[in-house]
Symmetry: C2
Subunit: 202 residues, 2 copies
DNA sequence: ATGCGAGTACTGTACCGTCCAGTTCCAAAG
DNA sequence: CTTTGGAACTGGACGGTACAGTACTCGCAT
C-alpha cells in the first residue's frame, strides 16, 4: 500500500515535523509545510483537516519512536560486581538520548504550546515521559528483588535517578537554546549521578 | 516622583506581565495590554519602543523578585544534630517556591520563546537559575568546611540537590499545564530528596 | 478519460505600529 | 485661587503585512 496518496501523507508528516521543530507552532505557516513537502496546500488540507490536527498528529507520532530509548532502561545487567559500572553506562546512554538536539527541540515545542493544547501535553507526558519512568522503576524493582538495591518506592527511585542526571543539562538546553556538552562532561555527569544514586539506594 | 507618567509605566508593566504569562508572547496583542492597563495604545508605544522590548523588560524584571527565594538557600542552620531536619525544611520551601503557578508559567514563557529571544533566555538562566545554584553551592561549601558534609564539587552537589527535588514536579507542571500537588506530596518529596542527598554527601 | 494534485489567486481576519484631532493633567506664573 | 501653556494621554482610524483556509483552473498520471 504505497499509493501516491500514502506517499504524500508521509511527505507532509515529515515536512511538518521538521518545520514545527525548527520554527515552533506559531512560527510555521501551512505554506511553509506545503512547500517543504513539495505538495500543494490543497493536498495538505486533504490529509489533515487543519493546522491544529496536523500538529497534534506529528507530536503524538514521535512517542512511537521512543521505544529504543525506553528499551535501554529495561536492560540492565544484574551482576553485583559491576553494578556501578553498569549503572554508569546506563546513565550515560540515557543522558545522550535526552540531550539530543531533536529531543530537546521536541520538549520545547510541546511545553511552549501546552497552554493551547492541554490534552496534547498531558498525553505526551504519559506516553513518553511517564512510560520511561515506569520502565526504569520496573528495572530497579528487579534489582531490588535480587538484593542488589534497597528500594522502597521504585517509582520514586526512578524519579531520583533521572533527576540527578537530567535536571541541569536539560534545563540549560531549555533556556539557552541548543547547548553542546563535551563527551567528557557527559561522562562526568553520568558517573557522579550513578555514584550518588548508589550511595542512597544500595 | 509618582508622576502620571510613572504610574502609567507601572500599569503597563503589570498588565503586560499578566497577559504575557497568561497567553504567551504570540497570543498577546498590544491592544490586549493597553486595554488591561486602561491606557491607550499610543501610550504603550511611548513607554516601550515595541513589543519585543516590552517583553524583554517584563521578563528581566522578574529576576529582581527572586531575591527572597534565593536568600532562602543561603540560610541553613549549621547544627549537626538537626541537619536532616533542617535540610528537609529547606527542600520543602524550595519546592514550594519553584512549583508556584506563577513561577511555572514564567518558566514556560521563557522556554517557549527562547528560540526567538536567545539572549533573553540565556540572561534569565544566569540571573535567575544559575544564581540560585551558586548560592546553594556556597551553602554546601560552608557545611563542608564545618565537617557536616563531604563535598568535592559544591556546584555539582547543588545540581544534585535541586534535581532530586524538582525534576519530576516541574516537568509534570511544564507538560500538563498547572498541576496541584497536595501538601503531603510535597512533604514526601522533600523528605525523600533530603534523605538521598545526605546518604551520598554526609 | 478521469480523478487527483499543482499552482495560484482570493477572502477574511488578526495584529503591529503610526497618525491625528481633541482632551486631561500638572505646574508655574499672575 | 485662577489662568495658561505645554506635555502626556485618549480614542479611533488606518496602512501594511502575514497567514488560515477556500476556490478554481489546468495538467499529468494511471
Amino acid at each position: 500500500m504505497d499509493s501516491r496518496s500514502a506517499r504524500k501523507h508521509e511527505a507532509i508528516l515529515e515536512a511538518a515535523t521538521n518545520v514545527f521543530l525548527d520554527k515552533g507552532y506559531a512560527g510555521t505557516s501551512m505554506d511553509d509545510i506545503a512547500k517543504l513537502a513539495a505538495v500543494s496546500k490543497q493536498t495538505v488540507y486533504k490529509h489533515f483537516s487543519d493546522k491544529e490536527k496536523l500538529f497534534a498528529d506529528i507530536v503524538l507520532a514521535t512517542t512511537d519512536r521512543l521505544d529504543t530509548t525506553i528499551d535501554l532502561l529495561a536492560e540492565l545487567p544484574t551482576d553485583d560486581a559491576n553494578l556501578e559500572e553498569n549503572l554508569t553506562r546506563l546513565a550515560r546512554q540515557f543522558l545522550t538520548a535526552l540531550t539530543d538536539p531533536r529531543v530537546i527541540q521536541l520538549r520545547r515545542l510541546i511545553i511552549a504550546n501546552a497552554d493551547f493544547f492541554p490534552d496534547l501535553g498531558t498525553e505526551w507526558y504519559e506516553r513518553g515521559f511517564q512510560r520511561g519512568l515506569t520502565t526504569l522503576a520496573a528495572t530497579f524493582q528487579r534489582l531490588a528483588d535480587q538484593g542488589l538495591l534497597r528500594v522502597d518506592d521504585p517509582l520514586l527511585a526512578a524519579n531520583h535517578f533521572s533527576g540527578l542526571l537530567l535536571w541541569i543539562p536539560v534545563n540549560k538546553a531549555m533556556f539557552t537554546g541548543r547547548v553542546q556538552y563535551t563527551e567528557a562532561d557527559l561522562d562526568r555527569y553520568a558517573a557522579a549521578g550513578a555514584r550518588v544514586f548508589l550511595a542512597a539506594y544500595r
